[in-house]
Symmetry: C2
Subunit: 214 residues, 2 copies
DNA sequence: TTCTGGATACTCGTATACGGGAATACAGAT
DNA sequence: ATCTGTATTCCCGTATACGAGTATCCAGAA
């Protein structure tokens, strides 16, 4: 970006990460005064940050009632994953023929990191990095942006998934399979595996009963 | 919505419409002071509105440099339409089997209105209403939201298209064809027509040389 | 004439201040 | 004891104020 980093952006980044890693649970009210005091800034940049996060769909704002961490029910999770499947399938289909060998190696390296990483907190980040690497050659910046946004929106739920060891090992083997088909330049097979991969994720999530009751 | 209407939202709505109908051309700088004075409010709600519109992709904000109406080049237009084709095809595919007869009739009514409407300014709105009506039964609110957002982003370019009488009559006949296939519950045929419809649009746009040079 | 350096003006980001509406809690009546 | 009405408190939306960074413009030198 190389742009002057504004306070609002810093606040947004910290909040986003706090929400993603679960420090701020779904439904938590986000009082402007509290946050301003906690960060040591005034309410204005906090307001900007909250608006930013609202646009990303991870917080909800109601006029006069304030902001709270967005609460997702099973329906919304299903919707997000349906959209992800649609967007990421297309991105992968477009990307596979153009994937540089370096990028494929990089994706493989990320997978090895996941296998070796003991810190649960970093799995989410690495998981995202792997997926985005595969799509990076799709040639449509806006599509990539949408995909990233939906990763942000779903991240804290995915991280719950990843903390389940069973799911994680299955997810990893699916990742390796996808990477292999990409190396073989078999886009359609890769897309099939990706769709199944995402389908397994949402199924596990919904079965785990992570739906909010609000 | 039924929520308290905040000043920032009003400002955002007015600005959005002004940008869509061309009153504010691409690249136009949006000075916070000017807008605040023009609307008769302070800069704060204007800031909120600009942030909102930035999230929608209609304006760009650079810290310390200010906001301006987003400028799109041919590449971005192609990207937007590629994403639209992807999103709207899926929405239509999901929606067709569930479309109530009332909704189909409503869509037909909108098309008749377009045929009868002499005011160029309203075509854009009606055009959008037709498309959204067809997707309304897709059962995925988030998908619909994304589609609407992309309509907003592309609206001012589409309106330029629609002011071309040749394009408009062709577009209308394509609309009628799509509606007919929907009535026959032939989702795949409808999707094919829709893709061609959007493809014609982007082709006409790019040929017309509407690309910005920024 | 052209290029450079500095001063001025402009605009944004952030801080502080104020007014209003919603939620809550308490008191009084049934 | 419970319900209702009122008052208080909290919080957000909006307004005003201030400091900083950038761009512009003019003057002076090459």
């Amino acid at each position: 970006m190389q742009r002057p980093q504004t306070v609002a952006e810093q606040v947004a980044n910290v909040l986003r990460e706090s929400i993603a890693d679960g420090s701020l649970a779904a439904g938590t009210p986000l009082r402007q005064d509290d946050l301003a005091e906690r960060f040591g800034f005034s309410r204005m940049p906090v307001r900007d940050a909250l608006r930013q996060l609202e646009a990303e769909g991870i917080v909800s704002i109601h006029p006069t009632k304030g902001a709270h961490v967005a609460r997702m029910d099973a329906t919304e999770i299903r919707e997000i994953f349906a959209v992800r499947a649609l967007l990421e399938s297309e991105a992968l289909r477009l990307s596979v023929p153009n994937l540089a060998k370096d990028t494929l190696d990089e994706a493989g390296h990320v997978l090895k990191q996941i296998d070796a990483e003991p810190n649960v907190g970093r799995w989410g980040t690495l998981n995202r990095a792997f997926h985005l690497a595969l799509y990076s050659a799709c040639g449509n910046a806006r599509l990539l942006g949408l995909i990233e946004a939906h990763h942000n929106a779903a991240d804290r739920y995915v991280r719950v998934l990843l903390s389940n060891l069973n799911y994680r090992s299955r997810s990893q083997s699916e990742h390796w399979d996808i990477l292999t088909t990409c190396r073989h330049r078999d886009a359609e097979a890769a897309v099939r595996l990706l769709k199944r991969h995402l389908g397994e994720g949402v199924k596990t999530l919904v079965e785990a009963g992570l739906a909010g009751k609000s």
